[in-house]
Amino acid sequence: MDGGMWSALLVYVLIGAPFLATLLILGISGLARLSAAPWVEAVRSRESWITTIASAISFLSAVALVNVPPSQPLIPFFLVDFIVDALSIYFVLLVNVVALVASFFISHYLKSVRELKPGERKEDLHSGRFHFFFNLFHLTMVLVPFMNNLVLLWIAVELTTVASAFLVGIRGDRQALEAAWKYTIITSTGVIFALLGTLFLASVAPESGTMQWYDLYRYLATHPENVNKNFAILSFLFVLIGYGTKAGFAPMHTWLPDGHGEAPYPVSALLSGVLLKSALYAILRFYILTLKALGKEAAFVTHILLASGLFSLGVAVPFILRRNKFKRILAYHSLEHMGIITFGLGIGHPIALFGALLHALNHALTKALMFLAFGLVQGEYALQVKTGDEEQYTGLLRVMPFTGLLIALGGLALVGSPPFNIFFSEFLILWGAFGQARHTPILWGAIVVFLLSVTLIFAGLVRHLGHLLLGNPPGRRVNEPAGLLGVLFLLFLSVFLFGVVVPHWDVLNLAQLLQDSVRILQGEMP
């Protein structure tokens, strides 16, 4: 088999694993309704295993795909083409790493939820339903980066809403349903704008007669005279608002704290770590096309991104400084970091672009660590201290010292302390900004706002962490599940590792993948 066939096979396996897991869990749930035989129950109790194995297969396929990139960027699949270039592989890798890590925590979450207030729930959480939607959510997020057709890309992004909305509201209590309502209404309204932007793109180069990203890209590169620049601008603005709503950009971010705060904690890790990046990926595909369409007038796009990034960053500050539930604080950090990524993209300098893409991965890893570690605390407090009251989540370093330590270190990473990963990518973005500011003096002002915001945010999170880690503990020390701690520790190792080096090993050459992605962002043919 040649390299092209290998990569095609890997793409099919990568998508097929969560797809089959979704079907399998649907089948098991159906079987469980028909029969209560012991073997059916035995299979049902392995749903988490099925999910984890599917996520692991998908993740390993993504890693392998980094090493066996296809010779052609398009891989046919029935009536559609998958686009498989460095940029899509990078985002698929990002989705899969968080999905794999989150999948380990599902059974812990379900167990703790059953323990907490069992009598108050009308119906217990249906494990099959949770696993089904989790795998479906994973599948839709893996599909997004591979969509070459821009209308199908839009459909894939919308499908992520469907799967995740059910997960956000799955607890079925008032808060969860309210969060699911807001999430669906706001993001559905947003994606209407995205489709309108897609539709306007069809009018940018009507003679091209295509909505395939790769064909449009080639057409715009070779026929600059046939481009309607007004429609290109309008298209990008609508796409930025539309997918930006889903990516959590201010002022369309209002679903973030509710959605992240009320979702089950493994889902919060996915929402914050990768769902926002899936929408960002869609923006990036349009960003590349718009740069090509606008040619010398492309500064408009970068300025818009720069302003949007700074605005999101600025809006996050007061919410992070305020006293609030910890998961909501983490959600506002997502707003901050999406702002930082957009700021990096807006600078447009290759180093800043590299930093922005790396920041997407770094944020995903760190935020997954924080949500999962805090979820472990919630779960163990529910199981052992018998409380779900967040006011009592204090003195963690004494009650759960290992998890507490990981939250402390993860928190420091999240606010950009050295030697962790987020510091490194923020440093790269700033390096790019300084390089670009020599040609664009207005950037100095932007850099000052950026530095001021991240400093205030640093102070805000340190305050919240102080309360969480050092306050008076509610009781004796509780047992920490060693297996899950091990997973968190590995996640923390990656947070630390990416702070000192961008892997360029034989088994995973992330540095090369990022450089290739930056070239695509700069308009080089994939």
Binding site: V151, W154, I155, E158, L159, T161, V162, A165, F166, G169, G172, D173, R174, Q175, L177, E178, A179, A180, W181, K182, T184, I185, S188, T189, V191, I192, F193, L195, L196, T198, L199, A202, S203, P206, G209, M211, N228, N230, F231, I233, L234, P257, D258, G261, E262, F319, R322, N324, K325, R328
Partner: protein, 238 residues
Amino acid sequence: MDIIKGLDILFPMLILFIAVHISASTVLKTMIERYKQQAFVLAAFVIFTALTSASWAIGAVALLPFLMGVSIKPILARATLVTSEPLELDVRKWLGFVEEAELTWLEHGRLRLPAGYSFILDATLTTLAFVIAYNLGSALESIEKISLAVSLALLMLGLFVMINNQDLLAQVIGLLVSEHGLFLAAIRVVRQKQLAIVLAVSLFFYLALTLTILLWVLPSLRKMSKSLEIKDQTQLKG
């Protein structure tokens, strides 16, 4: 030819007029009725477009807004009522839901802003839509510009309905009005007819999914909060 040109302008303007009426309504029942009318006018306009462009495929797409027009009342009625009955395809039962829900709809639909301010904002948004369409759509013919302007106006008015109304169901109607704008743009502004059909079908696929989620959440939310009003859904703050 003049009649065709006249209808080309009349249909979008009628759709726009109904959207303004929806936005100004202070009773939920009226909003839903107007939405239904708008869906039928849109379906008629799509058929008219299919006839003038001799495209049967576009004519088939008219079925989508028509189906929405027919089914919107029973769907929203089922979502309004707090019932534990399983979903059944019994037409009489669904009509019964509508009768019962209409009493609730008559009591809801209040606006946040006074009617005068709302009207001024409606007019401003509509004007803005026309200004944008006429400035950006230089490559379009004048008839297409009108459709583009109306599409943008529907999008903005739909958003305004979502913000200016105090009810959860009004938010759904606002979303549906915006979706009509997008549908109109897909059919009238996109010149590649096959692409227009793909866009229109995608749109209804999206709508079906979104409505499924919202209608799954709404009855439970209403049951727990004992209200259909947005102001009572304030468990999550800050």
